[in-house]
């Protein structure tokens, strides 16, 4: 069970790392994968910097969590993912964005896995 849980955390962690790296190597296709086009000027800088950093941070934190088994490392990416999902709903309700249900589901499932892992795999900080 624990091994399966580790694998289920490691896979999205690697996916987040790849997505983060993709923002630095091929930002236009990385943007397209998230349903946006690559902007110009400062907008492009923010897209690559902020979004790339978000994904890389989450991936690295999840891998650190698996190695150290420290609870806070599981909680941090889970918090980020839950916030992303909440902001997506706010974007839909208040700002005419599309309701990206598939993405929200993935974010909540991974956040749930991280919280589950924090209780099953972790030791106290």
């Amino acid at each position: 069970m624990k091994t399966l849980l580790r694998i289920l955390i490691a896979l999205p962690a690697i996916l987040f790392l790849v997505t983060g790296l993709r923002w630095s190597l091929d930002p236009s296709s990385a943007a397209a994968a998230l349903g946006m086009s690559l902007m110009d000027g400062v907008g492009r800088s923010s897209q690559i910097g902020d979004v790339g950093a978000l994904f890389l941070s989450m991936g690295i934190m999840m891998l650190v969590a698996l190695i150290t088994s420290r609870r806070s490392w599981f909680h941090a990416p889970a918090l980020m993912l839950v916030l992303v999902a909440i902001l997506r709903v706010i974007a839909w309700l208040a700002h005419d964005a599309a309701l990206a249900l598939d993405m929200i589901m993935v974010e909540l499932v991974v956040a749930g896995l991280l919280l589950l892992a924090s209780s099953r795999l972790s030791q106290a900080d």
Binding site: I14, L17, L25, V64, I67
Partner: protein, 593 residues
């Protein structure tokens, strides 16, 4: 306002002079001809009827009848270098496109003149015409760069619909090679989706007519560049056109090569009694089974149908210009980017090839050959017949790769009954167009920065019968592409062709009396031979021609470049991900122990 009596005549005179000047300018503008530059893709020397072909090309025949056929016109042996030189009149090693980008090896691509896209150090004929008040249109294959700033809308073309790759499917928006993720079509610089009822030749002429119509009433002349996809692979044609040639090629490629040789001689395209070689890549027709011969004959029937379809659609453009009263003031220039294409082999139905094509969404079935979803080629044996009576074909520096049809017809070009045998070169087209338009070539600078000078000569004096030659017997023209090289001087040519078809040795031929390159004169004329080799070395030094890396293989390089171009990003991503993951894994394993 009052005008004093003394000043009135003066003002009237000034007004009259201004009006006269304006009228003069208007007349001068009205006299400038429209120019339609039509470029076929991979069309062999004797494919069209005016050059000895059995293929029905009434529009091109009419051009040939009312204008001039050049029988000693040479281009480069591959598409992108030709297109670069055609539009800029600058040697391919100076304009950035010395080879197709798909096959430039890394040892060369580090040099600025070997980037595979048109450099900013050259100016296109379209830019110069646009500056001179011409409307400039392009519909067709570009292949001189696929980044936004490299597309034709940035190189002097006012309206464009263009395919940026080396080729693409003729029936749908689909890449023909696995090295491309998609067929890259653009309209006025933006990504473009082809219509559902697309067929390349019809679509390109439809767009050309649409562009011309959009400005037809403003009195300004136009320059329309129409680089067809026909007859590049995949060779595809509407069934009605293919049907006309079913049974025509049942006697095989060797017989066809002889028939075309004979007709070319009758038409005065080549000297009577022109000898020709049998290419080692030509298979024995009689060694094939009846079913195989039937299949090969249909491959060529589709090819012929594709050429006739192209001619038919050029005819639609001519009809449109006649109906709108623009035909009489239009000059047509028709040519090909290089000789016939031999790829595809003589066993296109082998299980391996069928599997590879199936992965691309293609089949090679007999029943649907040439139609949507079908991948057709003519292979080396029919390619040799398409270049009859010349030796070699596309990619090689033999005459079959370099010598292609050139017809100029229309306003201010008188009919010339006999074909013209003056040596002409691809860089001569742009200066010819500029002279037709009354526009001067760039003099050292353009757009605020230095540009390469045009090296070609206008063909109009020869086309009008005012001159016999474009180049004097002592002038030299050098050429190199992927290690295949040549130098022309007067009636002579030194040439080297690399393997697999070439022997990697220099030879000397008289290409006027022996266009088939059958008799090597290097031992009979050693002094001329050595002098011309020396001129070639000067050409190499002057133009920055780089040596090919040892063991260079264009096909292998094409696969490597294709993989890197299409999957290079993903490969780098995978490597970086692994590099990032390795420390985590090491720490993880260490802690577990």
């Amino acid at each position: 306002m009052t005008v004093s009596r003394g000043r009135l005549p003066l003002r009237l005179t000034a007004t009259a002079l201004a009006l006269a000047s304006l009228c003069g300018m208007a007349l001068a503008h009205a006299a400038r001809p429209n120019v339609v530059l039509i470029l076929a893709d991979d069309l062999g020397f004797s494919d069209i009827a005016p050059y000895g072909g059995e293929i029905n090309t009434p529009t091109l025949s009419a051009f040939a009848q009312s204008g001039v056929r050049f029988t000693n016109y040479h281009t480069t042996a591959s598409c992108a270098p030709t297109r670069g030189m055609l539009l800029t009149s600058v040697d391919s090693h100076r304009n950035g496109v010395p080879n197709i980008p798909e096959t430039i090896p890394p040892e060369q691509s580090v040099f600025p003149n070997y980037q595979g896209f048109l450099g900013t150090n050259v100016v296109t004929v379209a830019s110069l015409l646009q500056d001179a008040g011409y409307h400039t249109y392009m519909a067709g294959k570009w292949h001189l760069g696929k980044e936004r700033d490299q597309l034709p809308f940035r190189r002097g073309f006012e309206r464009t619909v263009t395919m940026a790759d080396s080729g693409a499917d003729n029936w749908e928006q689909k890449p023909y090679l696995a090295i491309y993720k998609k067929a890259n079509w653009f309209a006025d610089g933006e990504v473009f989706e082809l219509p559902k009822d697309f067929y390349s030749s019809r679509f390109l002429i439809d767009k050309t007519i649409e562009f011309i119509s959009s400005n037809a009433d403003d009195g300004q002349p136009f320059f329309a560049y129409v680089p067809f996809q026909a007859v590049h692979i995949p060779v595809q044609a509407p069934q009605a056109f293919t049907q006309k040639y079913m049974g025509v090629y049942d006697s095989g490629w060797s017989e066809l090569r002889k028939q075309r040789q004979h007709r070319a001689e009758q038409l005065g395209i080549t000297p009577v009694g022109t000898p020709m070689v049998d290419m080692s890549s030509t298979s024995d027709w009689n060694a094939y089974t009846e079913d195989e011969r039937r299949y090969h004959a249909k491959r060529m029937a589709v090819y012929a149908g594709m050429i006739e379809a192209m001619d038919h659609h050029i005819g639609r453009l001519v009809d449109y210009l006649k109906k709108t009263g623009q035909y009489e003031n239009t000059v047509f220039i028709f040519t090909s980017d290089n000789g016939s294409e031999a790829s595809g082999g003589d066993d296109p139905r082998s299980p391996l090839l069928r599997f590879a094509l199936k992965m691309q969404g293609y089949n090679t079935d007999y029943e649907t050959l040439g139609l949507k979803g079908s991948f057709n080629t003519i292979g080396p044996s029919f390619a040799s017949a398409a270049a009859s009576p010349l030796a070699y074909y596309k990619f090689y520096a033999g005459e079959g790769g370099l010598r292609v049809p050139l017809v100029i017809a229309g306003a201010s070009v008188p009919a010339m009954e006999k074909p013209n045998n003056a040596f002409t070169w691809v860089t001569d087209i742009a200066p010819t167009i500029l002279e037709l338009a009354g526009v001067k070539p760039p003099s050292g600078r353009y757009g605020g920065h230095p540009v390469e000078p045009m090296i070609g000569r206008s063909l109009l004096p020869v086309a009008r019968g005012e001159s016999d030659r474009v180049y004097s017997p002592t002038e030299t023209i050098g050429y190199e592409l992927g290690g295949n090289a040549a130098l022309f001087q007067g009636d002579y040519k030194v040439v080297i062709n690399i393997p697999p078809m070439g022997d990697n040795q220099w030879h000397l031929y008289n290409i006027v009396t022996d266009p088939g390159e059958t008799q090597d004169l290097s031992t009979q004329m050693p002094q001329r031979f050595q002098e011309m080799l020396g001129h070639y070395q000067n050409y190499v030094a002057k133009n920055g021609v780089l040596p090919m890396p040892a063991n260079y293989d264009a096909a292998r390089q094409g696969v490597i470049n294709g993989i890197l171009d299409r999957f290079g990003g993903q490969i780098l991503l995978a490597v970086l991900t692994i590099i990032l993951l390795v420390p985590f894994y090491i720490v993880y394993r260490t802690r577990r122990r």
